[in-house]
Amino acid sequence: MISYHPDSRYLTDFATANLPLAEAVCVSAHLEFCGKCRAHVQQLTDVGGHMLARLQPEAVSEDSFAALMARVSAGAQEQFPVTVAAQVPQEDVEEAAQSHVFLPRAVRRLVSGSLDKLRWVQLGKALRVAPLQVSDESRETAIYDIRAGGRMPEHEHRGEEITVLLQGSFSDADGSYSCGDFVVRHAGEAHQPTATMDKDCICLVCLERPVRPRGLFYRLLEPLVNYRLQRMNRSVA
């Protein structure tokens, strides 16, 4: 049962494609779990279609259609190709299917088909993190894997954090969250998520800026964590 959804700002900015890419990935992932939000996005897109059809037309040049048909006859594909990066290989898709974690399309693409191939950074006993490259410099995107029953270090957010649960569930002082939930934490909010006992909790996380661990131990660890993540990013890029 999905209890936490993107608000009207996220859904509208998604439907109009005005959301930063990393946040759009999170909304897109949630939509694959949530028929209700998917229906809202369809309705919002209809608003776009309706408004498009009522715009004051802007004349195109007279030879535009002929030029287009010449390209069609020459077998032209789009000049702005829809697909530039390599497709996810079929064996990766099959591997993902076997791993029993349902990955939304955008995530499947970002992890090249399988979570196992990511470069994981172990952070303490309960948490490992794999950074993802989303070409969105304002945010950091990563997959978090919290071990069943494990507890993350308590941390505070310097910026907005979006978490989409892909598998399992976790809870913190404010509530409990399960697969498909879209959870937003704002700057200044601190929490200490704990995964439920039955299985590992896998999350897609998009951070406006890095989180700041609150305890002294993690405060000391922080530069190390950042260093390790940065080195990871470089080696991935």
């Binding site: 608000d7 694959e32 209809d46 535009s64 259609f65």
Partner: protein
């Protein structure tokens, strides 16, 4: 089901009573089908004459900072080329022709903006803005009805609400962009848009 959803469906039924079970027929569906099935160039010419000037208008608004009409012209051609190439993927139970063409124009625009950015590409636009693989038929049916509702209700929106919708959907501005441009708090922009959407019977919880 929450009470807001109940009332939503109630007013949908009322709207439907006047519009017939399928709503108003879409004259452009048949044209798309002929393009898909027979590569019918005469029908495609009609689609082009009708839609290309709207698409160009949309792209001119969206890329006004580049202020380059020939660029909008070029992108309009790309959008219409996709309409030709993808005609067989058009599904009239999921979207109207207007909506379908809007999504293609929207994706082409964002693809163009990203191409101009320096960032490398690790994901395609259509991996993010795609039609989910497992849509629920019941939801689809309601969606088509809502479209009739939108058509009828749009004309009655107060000026300030119509303005924020116009900026969001046609000028490609985020809530933050609109707040900045109109010198309004983000919360005010959000509530105006929510209010406008609720008049269009798009009832998002928060």
């Amino acid at each position: 089901m929450s009470s807001s959803e109940d009332s939503n469906i109630g007013s949908l039924r009322k709207a439907l009573a006047g519009a017939g079970p399928q709503g108003a027929p879409d004259p452009w569906e048949a044209a798309i089908r002929k393009v898909a099935q027979h590569q019918d160039r005469a029908e495609f010419k009609k689609l082009f004459d009708h839609y290309a000037p709207m698409i160009k208008s949309f792209l001119c608004k969206g890329i006004s900072s580049y202020a380059d009409r020939s660029l909008a012209e070029e992108m309009t051609q790309e959008v219409m080329l996709k309409v030709w190439n993808k005609a067989d993927s058009f599904n009239p139970t999921k979207a109207s022709v207007n909506t379908w063409i809007f999504t293609i124009a929207r994706n082409t625009r964002i693809d163009f903006i990203r191409r101009n950015g320096r960032a490398g590409r690790t994901i395609d636009i259509e991996d993010i803005w795609h039609e989910a693989d497992s849509p629920e038929p019941v939801v689809e049916l309601q969606q088509r009805r809502v479209e009739t509702m939108i058509r009828n209700a749009m004309a009655t929106l107060p000026e300030e609400q119509a303005l924020v919708l116009e900026k969001a959907f046609m000028e490609n501005k985020s809530h933050n962009d609109i707040a900045e441009e109109l010198a309004l708090p983000l919360g005010t922009v959000k509530s105006r848009i929510r209010l406008a959407l609720s008049k269009l019977q798009i009832l998002i919880d928060r």
